[in-house]
Symmetry: C2
Subunit: 196 residues, 2 copies
């Protein structure tokens, strides 16, 4: 086994844990399966992390940061507002369709964090970060395009966050991705109508 500093080893174990959890589910992922996925022995695990909880914490923060960048990548300003929103939804939706297990994992980890004493702040931070990312993007769009909103930015941001959350979860459960594009179109039109 190649030697490496603990910081890098920690990253490797975190990535392995994400893969294992996305594949098997959070409940069925053990320290042994994570170590095996990373290709290291179990003792290495406890050398790099004080406990399994410490690793889960690293997994959640890593995944949260990663998800935000996905949202920010998706929402790039276009010529018109409707075009911007539509393109953003499309990019996000493509990501969901391409990585269903990863999105499923975030839902699982949210609930794990809410149940685990002392971890609830991680779940909240995850959702707050989403909302803030949306709010910043809306604010930026509003300035760039000189828009006037019929509703406060915070309301619109939370609406978008909850909307995408619900649509994603429904798709993950029911499948049938095509059926949801009509709904995204409806929502896109709705949002376009909320500005003047």
């Amino acid at each position: 086994m190649a030697r490496m500093p603990s910081a890098e080893r920690r990253r490797q174990l975190t990535e392995a844990a994400i893969r294992a959890m996305a594949r098997d589910g959070v409940a069925k992922t053990t320290t042994r399966s994570i170590a095996a996925e990373a290709g290291v022995s179990l003792s290495v695990f406890h050398y790099c992390f004080d406990s399994k909880q410490a690793l889960v914490e690293a997994v959640i923060t890593t995944l949260t940061d990663h998800s935000v960048s996905v949202v920010q990548e998706a929402l790039r300003p276009k010529d018109t507002l409707e075009e911007t929103v539509a393109a953003g939804f499309r990019a996000y939706w493509d990501h969901v369709r391409a990585n269903p297990e990863a999105h499923m994992l975030t839902y699982e980890l949210t609930q794990y964090a809410l149940r685990e004493p002392g971890f609830d702040h991680l779940a909240r931070r995850q959702y707050e970060v989403y909302g803030e990312a949306y709010a910043e993007l809306i604010e930026q769009l509003r300035r760039d395009m000189d828009l006037e909103l019929r509703v406060p930015v915070s309301v619109l941001a939370r609406y978008l966050a909850a909307m995408t959350d619900g649509l994603t979860l429904n798709y993950l459960v029911l499948g049938d991705a095509a059926a949801w594009s009509d709904i995204l179109d409806t929502v896109t039109a709705h949002i376009a109508g909320l500005v003047r």
Copy 2:
């Protein structure tokens, strides 16, 4: 311990399991904790259910049926469409605020079912039932009020289902119930605009 027929004992154990799971979470609920919650010995559990999975199946179907009745109770026809939708949202939202653990449990069970081999159909059925309940209510409203929809009933039903799902999850994570009423108002107005 009072003697009772297995059918009734099964119901009692199912109810106890729902309470225990809502309180401790699905992952931390064991056959022992369920038996203790029901006030019976562990052997009674396996006398009434072949396995823990058999009980979880009973829990999911029970809870799904229960949730549908909540939605149907909430959406009673009023004088105007907007009033009907607003009252429906308010009733549903009150139920969520009054029973956060119960709603959290449904999300947990959905993911449990999706991960457990042979249980995914239960998760799908849960979400299909929601969608169908919405679709029927919309159809009924459309007939009674002689409405004309700008979007197909199925699209509107799925939109509502995903919307409430996402809003509920966001509230369960972030709290701050008051902040979401503005969003519900926005959605209500949106839906009212989708008919003519």
